[in-house]
């Protein structure tokens, strides 16, 4: 099977869906790539090169380059979706959610409900999130929790290239507004990705490792760190279930609870705030629904409750690292009543 990067997998998903269905359009800042500079259009293919090649193939009626107006992008996409198009709108950095959030959570998320099911909103908001690339406090946040909390939105957090392609195709075909959160740390990572079109269902967690001592749930790139930790601990005879929920809404609660019922111990990792984050949410679900199975307190490993520092050393300290995950696993294992 061919090896593709996360970036290529996302690009391929969009290109293949656009070829299969001419209702699929792309809209966003710099999605044509290189607009406004001296070079050719498509010179860059977007700020991260994810939409490269789409503009030359599908033209400016389907790959719509916009001014820097996130609110207009989301509003246009939400309106277009009601008319039957299937827009894939790009929110360049998830940090910019604030300037367009009304269009997403008050409009796109609520059309179907408020209009009694007479209207659907089949749009995708692709956005990139995540720290570690020295982007500073306004270009590094993962705000997955802010969209996960909104009823009417579906939220996808692909953690590898294979999942990215299958989940994005599912997102484009879905008839509701889907927020597709790309971890920018992963664009250069690669794995085997089929050339064919395939879908991965929402709400189906993926077990990356299986074990019996501790359940580790990781959101976005943190799950890859959890896998590395689990593999190291396996050499000591400690075995972990490492669960990637793939989508935070809908969330495969059942898979997490079932795993905790067999291990009795839970470590939840995300790169969000410790309060009201996805890790906090999963912790509360397990505490409510699997309390009797717990043999140790649930341990969250999250970012610090502070803006993301620009100083590299401070940013590294702010982020959940493998060592933090390992310490948490050892802590829950060492717990005795």
């Amino acid at each position: 099977m061919p090896i593709k990067t996360y970036r290529q997998a996302i690009n391929e998903a969009m290109a293949q869906e656009m070829r299969l269905n001419d209702k699929v359009i792309i809209i966003g800042e710099d999605v044509a790539g290189g607009a406004g500079c001296d070079g050719e259009r498509d010179a860059y293919g977007g700020v991260m090169g994810v939409t490269k090649g789409l503009f030359p193939e599908f033209g400016e009626s389907r790959v719509i380059d916009t001014p820097i107006t996130e609110s207009a992008i989301m509003g246009a996409a939400a309106g277009a979706a009601q008319t039957g198009l299937r827009p894939v709108a790009e929110l360049m950095f998830m940090d910019f959610l604030g300037v367009c959030f009304d269009q997403i959570y008050n409009q796109a998320a609520k059309f179907r409900y408020m209009f009694g099911g007479k209207v659907e909103c089949p749009m995708v908001v692709r956005t990139m999130a995540g720290a570690g690339l020295r982007g500073g406090a306004q270009h590094s946040q993962n705000l997955t929790q802010m969209v996960t909390m909104v009823p009417g939105l579906k939220v996808v957090c692909p953690t590898n290239a294979y999942d990215a392609k299958g989940l994005l195709i599912t997102a484009i075909r879905d008839n509701d507004c889907v927020i597709f959160v790309e971890d920018k740390f992963l664009y250069e990572t690669s794995c085997e990705v089929p050339d064919e079109v395939y879908t991965i269902p929402f709400g189906e967690a993926n077990f990356l490792r299986e074990g019996s001592d501790v359940t580790i749930v990781g959101i976005s790139n943190t799950v890859n760190k959890a896998v590395a930790v689990a593999d190291r601990l396996a050499e000591e005879g400690i075995s972990c279930d490492v669960i990637d929920p793939r989508t935070t809404s809908p969330l495969d609660e059942e898979a997490i609870i079932e795993s905790v019922e067999t291990t009795g111990r839970l470590v939840v990792v995300d790169e969000m705030t410790p309060r009201c984050g996805v890790a906090a949410d999963i912790s509360s679900i397990v505490a409510e629904k699997a309390f009797g199975a717990l043999r140790a307190p649930i341990r969250k490993v999250t970012a610090a409750h502070s803006p993301i520092p620009f100083a590299p050393a401070l940013e590294d300290a702010w982020m959940p690292q493998e060592s933090d995950i390992e310490a948490a696993v050892r802590e829950v294992l060492g717990y005795t009543r």
Partner: protein
């Protein structure tokens, strides 16, 4: 096509640099499985059997019995498939030793099992079944391949462990998926987490509980309230709070012990610990030990020692007197200065006295050679030097090997008496307790004397009881009349 594997001298412990081949347990041509014991190797500390890390046929023995080889040196060659002599010779010629000695596992040193490591194959899943249900037989296990059945990861895992075909399980889970609950229902089982993880476990012991009044024990109000709720008596709690009060934390700690969960850590066996374990187990299990003890009055000895040290400026310990006296007694009763070899009894002409020295993590027995020919100041100088360097770990092998008789002295801890285990291949060891002032009957009256009890452990195969008694009699004579050692 054949594959050749090198068997090399393993590294048992940090200090091991070489090993002597004592005996091959297999011969050329033998078929070997992984884990078969191949060859006994002796180091300065231990004899152990090396296990085969490979399956195949032993095609060549390179290291012969009696040879001493560096760690990582070639011991032999194992082939998988047919190998010609030329191929084997070429393999041996091309062999480069690796001093880490990693290719041969020690018999007792099995590595911890490694769980799932490869993404493609999440292997070795231990199913933590508390209610261990019997594997499903009959109808539940029958059916076509169930890999395509939509089931949750945990449900699939449990079904596999209990031999349940997922086709036979009604799916009621999320989106028509077979859930853990579905499998449990179908199989009549219930899977719950282990109370204690497979690692970091706790051991239990029944705690002693007081019933005495504890109202006078200083305690914080919260701690007292908790103690009452938890039925903990404050007499049983070690106070660590401010001004010696029992704190909430102290109660919590006490509650942990009351629930029977004690903490423990596992410490890897050091090379020294392994040697002590092997040697003393062998001694205790194979030697018919018996013990004879006697009280020795040492007032005269202490008086002369005080004169030697204070007036003459020596630094002679009571133990130095014991070493000297043992050497003198061994000269008088040489039947105790022996070793039992199986074929004969070896009787030594001189007394090389091994003295047990406690060091960090174990003990070691440096030797005072020919102690009978040495004066007390020389014995004192040697023994303090050996003890100091034993603590520092800088003894040379020849300084702690050999020895014909051992002394173990716990007098400095004030013990009344104890027995020692014979230090193989020797046949006797003297256990020396503290010298304590005691009332003794002398004639028809009671007098005070400083009494030191010694206990001789002897190997009955070589030394009979009467001989031991004669030895102790001689020893008592020398220690009670130190001047007689001059004779």
């Amino acid at each position: 096509m054949s594959t050749l594997h090198a068997l090399t001298v393993p590294k048992w412990g940090m200090s091991m640099e070489e090993g002597e081949i004592t005996e091959w347990r297999v011969s050329v041509g033998d078929k070997l499985a992984v884990g078969d014991e191949l060859v006994d190797i002796e180091t300065s500390k231990i004899i152990n059997a090396a296990e085969s890390p490979f399956a195949g046929t032993l095609v060549r023995v390179v290291g012969e019995a009696g040879q001493t080889l560096k760690v990582g040196s070639l011991l032999g060659v194992i082939a998988q498939g047919d190998a010609t002599d030329a191929e084997i010779n070429e393999f041996i010629a091309a062999f480069v030793p690796d001093a880490s000695g990693a290719s041969l596992a020690q018999a007792s040193d099995a590595k911890a099992p490694v769980a799932a490591t490869a993404e493609a194959a999440p292997a070795a899943v231990r199913t933590p079944a508390v209610s261990a249900a019997p594997a499903a037989t009959g109808a539940l296990s029958q059916g076509p391949d169930d890999t395509d059945v939509n089931a949750s990861a945990v449900a699939r895992r449990i079904a596999k462990a209990h031999n349940i075909n997922l086709h036979n399980v009604p799916a009621t889970g999320r989106n028509g998926r077979v859930s853990k609950h579905d499998v449990e229902q179908a199989g009549g089982i219930r899977i719950v987490a282990q109370a204690v993880a497979s690692v970091a476990t706790g051991a239990s012991n029944e705690p002693q509980r007081s019933t005495a009044d504890d109202s006078h024990i200083a305690s914080t109000p919260v701690a007292r309230r908790m103690a009452r709720t938890l039925n903990i008596n404050l007499n049983d709690v070690t106070p660590t709070g401010k001004r010696g009060r029992v704190s909430k934390e102290d109660i919590e700690r006490s509650a942990v012990s009351a629930t029977g969960v004690a903490f423990y850590r596992e410490q890897k066996l050091s090379g020294m610990r392994k040697t002590i374990a092997a040697r003393l187990s062998e001694s205790k299990q194979t030697i018919p030990h018996y013990r004879v003890s006697v009280d020795i009055e040492i007032d005269s000895l202490l008086q002369q020692r005080a004169y030697m040290n204070k007036t003459l400026g020596h630094k002679i310990s009571v133990n130095d007197f014991v070493i000297k006296a043992c050497a003198s007694a061994l000269a008088q009763v040489p039947e105790v200065n022996v070793q039992y070899t199986g074929e004969c009894i070896r009787q030594f002409d001189q007394a090389d006295i091994s003295m047990a020295v406690a060091v960090k993590g174990g003990l070691i027995t440096p030797v005072i050679r020919n102690a009978g020919a040495k004066g007390l100041p020389q014995i004192a100088a040697e023994s303090s030097d050996l003890a100091r360097r034993a603590q520092a770990g800088s003894l040379a092998v020849e300084e702690f090997e050999g020895g014909t008789f051992s002394i173990s002295n716990l007098g400095m801890y004030g013990v009344d008496q104890f027995d020692a285990i014979i230090n193989l291949p020797q046949a006797a060891i003297l256990a020396v307790a503290a010298g304590v002032k005691k009332p003794i009957v002398r004639g028809d009256s009671i007098a005070a004397a400083t009494v030191m009890r010694v206990s001789l452990s002897a190997d009955h195969r070589a030394i009979d009881g009467a001989v031991s008694a004669q030895f102790l009699q001689a020893l008592k004579g020398f220690l009670e009349n130190p001047a007689s050692m001059l004779l």
